[in-house]
Amino acid sequence: MYPFTKKTVLLSLNATFLAAATAFSASANAQETLHVYNWSDYIADETVANFEKASGIKVVYDVYDSNEVLEAKLLAGKSGYDLVFPTARPFVDRHIKAGIYQKLDKAALVNYQHLDGDILKSLADIDPDNAYAVPYMWGTTGIGINVKKVKAILGDEMPLDTWSLIFDPKISAKLAQCGISLMDDATEVFAAAHAYKAENNNDFSNKSIDAAAETVRAVRGNIRYFHSSQYINDLANGDLCVAHGYSGDILQARDRAAEANNGNEVAYFAPKEGAVVWTDVMVIPKDAPNPKAAHTFINYLLQPDVIAPITNYVAYANANKDATALIDEGVRNDPGIYPPAETRANFMVLKTPTDKQARTMNRAWTRLKTGQ
């Protein structure tokens, strides 16, 4: 999960008030306190309460819904958080370079052995020896589809696991009336556009950025909105036909539509031309007030029987190889959550652009969205 969204204002305001309120109540007793800052809807209902019972540590749990909000707090310094959950690329990559995290004390993480070695290896290029970051969940960015409505428009023969639903001007023109949304995220959208055109998605030159922007501009008129979380509701309610979004979010939309029994059948596809794969990790800020408690919480989350119910709840795959057997069969066998090998072969790992390249991308993105 990576980008920024619109609930941000609300969420960060909430978080501030919560932090203020809880800081006050915490000072009343001398109990040990842990300040956690995580994505919204990214943990099971019981997890925190169970941890508090098991450890005696009081958890102050705040949520955000964009890496950018988290990043702004961390870079400003003295965030007061002991444990945060940013996305590895490009965020943790540049945060490690900026020196804002502290090294893990692996001796305190006895459950570290349960982690999937392949996922640890996949992070080693940005975090040598996995010194700073512990992987939490991973997922992909692909497309969510209202199956019945899209089939009614394009016919039964049209394959649905392809970016051409969005980036082929002829096809997206047919779907426009029914509603197409793109994420409000330059990195994700440009990576998808590069994948559709079979271009190198790790080339951040001006020429490459212009090419991706051109691909999007050709279908700009067919896009209803750019947003990174609104599509969950709209897909579930039938207000959208095609949404570019995170695997777990689209699967939540699918489950909500099924619960509401409103006739909308939502499905997630990781497009065959390539889907971005990302990993969210747990890291401890350098100025964390209570790094010891942060280690205790990480170690708790590394227990297979703790992380498995979280995956059941959030519909994202965890990085714990010993937890897979404990996960509900329906979740474990869901190709949207645990994709088969042939789908994994098409996953794209994004490199981190330099700050200057990232700014060029974001400014090109603003121009594109606003039609300038």
Binding site: R363, R367, T370
Partner: protein
């Protein structure tokens, strides 16, 4: 008479007055000038990958040797890249149109309240102020439910058979205008009401006695005399709308380009705090212009009287 007391008196008076005048100056200094100087300082530094994400203004190059590094690059980028002045122009346009619409809706409402029987005025004013008791964010969110494709408005219009196809209002500039006019209407009505209620009715009677028809009474007496209210209301709407972020973000479509949203992008997506600060400084300068014009106008009005 005690000479020491009489000698103290003017001093005591002076310090009392000084305190009274000093309090707002102190307030402005601490909560406006100081933060603004921080912004200016930040806007002259350079973004960098560190904590906090910019290079300090004053750097130590060798032991004790300090250098002051001033970077005007952020300001020059604002003028070189058309995106920024287009966003500024677009914000001015949106704020101007929204202010005009708010005035056209707010004036008759303020007028009606001022002319209403005395017992009605307070309840009517309460109805204007009442929405403030709910959070601004919640009220803007409510408009999403009203305006969306399968929302309350479209359902009602479809149900009444007035339209065959749902109207696409949400995520368009129209939705932004609806949101702004709705949210800022009280700021227009209250100063207008305050001016209109103080109008001397005998002036209208005199005009009527001299044979002036009601519409001309309004144009030549009421309207000019309510000008201070119109200007105060328009400033209260125009200035905050210029920097508005929440309404275009929640209700606006991707093509709503406003300076507030651009600042958000620079601050959060680009981690470019210095550029965002430069944008804020430029916005402030642009907003000071109508304020200076207002003061100038007020002075002229006073001189005429």
């Amino acid at each position: 008479m005690n000479p020491s007391l009489s000698g103290n008196n003017p001093l005591a008076k002076l310090s009392g007055r000084g305190l009274l005048i000093g309090a707002p100056w102190f307030w402005m200094g601490v909560f406006f000038l100081l933060p603004f100087l921080f912004i200016i300082k930040l806007s002259l530094s350079e973004a960098a990958l560190m904590q906090p994400p910019y290079l300090p203004f004053i750097r130590e190059i060798e032991d004790g040797l300090v250098t002051l590094v001033v970077n005007f690059g952020n300001y020059s980028l604002l003028f070189e890249d058309p995106l920024y002045w287009k966003a500024l122009l677009s914000s001015i346009e949106i704020a101007a149109i929204a202010t005009l619409v708010t005035l056209l809706i707010g004036y008759p409402m303020a007028y009606a309240i001022a002319k209403a029987p005395k017992a009605w005025r307070l309840p009517l004013l309460m109805l204007i102020i009442l929405p403030f008791w709910t959070s601004f964010l919640i009220r803007v969110y409510a408009w999403i439910g009203i305006l969306k494709t399968n929302g309350i408005l479209n359902d009602a219009l479809l149900g009444l058979g007035l339209i065959d196809q749902p109207l696409e209002i949400l995520y368009t500039p129209t939705a932004v205008y609806i949101g702004i006019v709705y949210s800022y209407l009280p700021f227009m009505i209250l100063p207008l009401y305050a001016t209109l209620i103080r109008l001397d009715d005998t002036l209208l009677e005199a005009a009527a006695d001299l044979g002036c028809p009601p519409w001309k009474q309004f144009l030549t007496v009421t309207l000019p005399l309510s000008l201070p209210g119109i200007i105060a209301g328009s400033m209260l709407v125009f200035i905050p709308v210029m920097g508005e972020f929440v309404i275009p973000d929640l209700l606006g479509g991707p093509n709503t380009l406003m300076i507030g949203k651009l600042m958000w992008t620079e601050f959060f997506n680009n981690k470019d705090w210095p550029l965002a600060s430069a944008l804020a400084a430029v916005l402030l300068v642009v907003l000071i212009i109508p304020f200076v014009l207002w003061q100038h106008f007020e002075k002229r009005l006073e001189m005429r009287q």
